[in-house]
């Protein structure tokens, strides 16, 4: 099954976020710190959330753009085949809730997610991001082969 946009077009376009972020915003690409910003408003006295959050405000605007992209695409028909949409059923809520928990906890403990480590970190050839990306895949393989067959 081929997607609307092949990887050899989409990948380089995604990678352009790195020079664009640096040139336009003087920011290193990342997304999961947006969740730390939200946490800092909910638990302002916690040691982890007491930090210079204004440096990460741009990530909150960035994720608003991501949500808008999702909203706009719902206005166009058949962006995905129905087989792809089957799993998005609220009866699978526990899968998404537990998945979300692991994403949030893991991203902050590792110091970044796929954006900050796989895309930005590997682009700067950082050892920390090599280690983390390998562990992302180890975790992903464990879940795909061992956990999901139990859940679904």
């Amino acid at each position: 099954m081929e997607p609307k946009l092949a990887w050899y077009f989409a990948g380089p376009l995604l990678g352009l976020i790195i020079p664009l972020g640096l040139l336009l915003k003087e920011k290193q690409f990342g997304i999961s710190s947006s969740l730390r910003v939200i946490g800092s408003f909910l638990l302002p006295t916690n040691e982890y959330f007491k930090y210079e959050r204004s440096n990460d405000y741009w990530q909150v605007s960035f994720v608003i753009g991501l949500i808008l992209a999702g909203l706009i695409s719902t206005q166009f028909e058949s962006l995905a085949t129905s087989e792809y949409l089957e799993v998005y059923n609220t009866s699978n809520w526990y899968l998404f809730l537990i998945g979300g928990l692991f994403i949030g906890f893991g991203a902050r403990y590792a110091g970044g997610c796929t954006a900050g480590h796989c895309i930005m970190g590997l682009s700067q050839l950082s050892l920390s991001s090599f280690v983390t990306t390998i562990c992302f895949f180890i975790g992903g393989l464990i879940a795909s082969y061992l956990l999901i067959p139990i859940f679904i």
Partner: protein, 136 residues
């Protein structure tokens, strides 16, 4: 203006992720089951673009639009966090079939599922904050 630039960047990044189908749970499963090269192609070509961009910016000392020299901070190595946090994140990536960008895009695409993943992720970050001292 600065806020609008960030929102537009998010909008463009999100649109490419939707058109390339990287936002879908099935695509993530295909990747972890090595059934399709698509996601690997996406990741590798995005990283290659990033490596080249960073080398060009460094070599030619290209300045930002505000005229400042661009300083790229190294990612700090933290064995415990990188390994344990990385594995936790990987498990979540596979279960939810989304990483952080697709998580937010899903809020727009399918708000019920999106809000469930978002609530989980926010709770995960709060739990990390509460355990921060013990974990580090």
């Amino acid at each position: 203006m600065r806020v609008i630039i960030s929102i537009v960047l998010g909008l463009l990044f999100g649109t490419v992720l939707i058109l390339s189908e990287a936002v879908y749970w099935q695509r993530i499963q295909e990747m972890f089951h090595f059934k399709s090269f698509h996601m690997y192609g996406l990741l590798f070509s995005a990283i290659a673009t990033g490596v080249i961009s960073i080398q060009l910016i460094k070599r030619f000392k290209i300045k930002s639009v505000n005229g400042n020299l661009i300083v790229i901070k190294p990612k700090k190595l933290n064995w415990k966090g990188n390994i344990i946090g990385g594995m936790f994140f990987g498990i979540g990536w596979s279960l939810a079939g989304a990483c952080t960008a697709p998580l937010f895009i899903t809020v727009g695409l399918n708000w019920q599922i999106g809000l469930i993943i978002f609530t989980g992720a926010l709770l995960g970050v709060i739990i990390y904050g509460l355990l921060y001292k013990k974990l580090n």
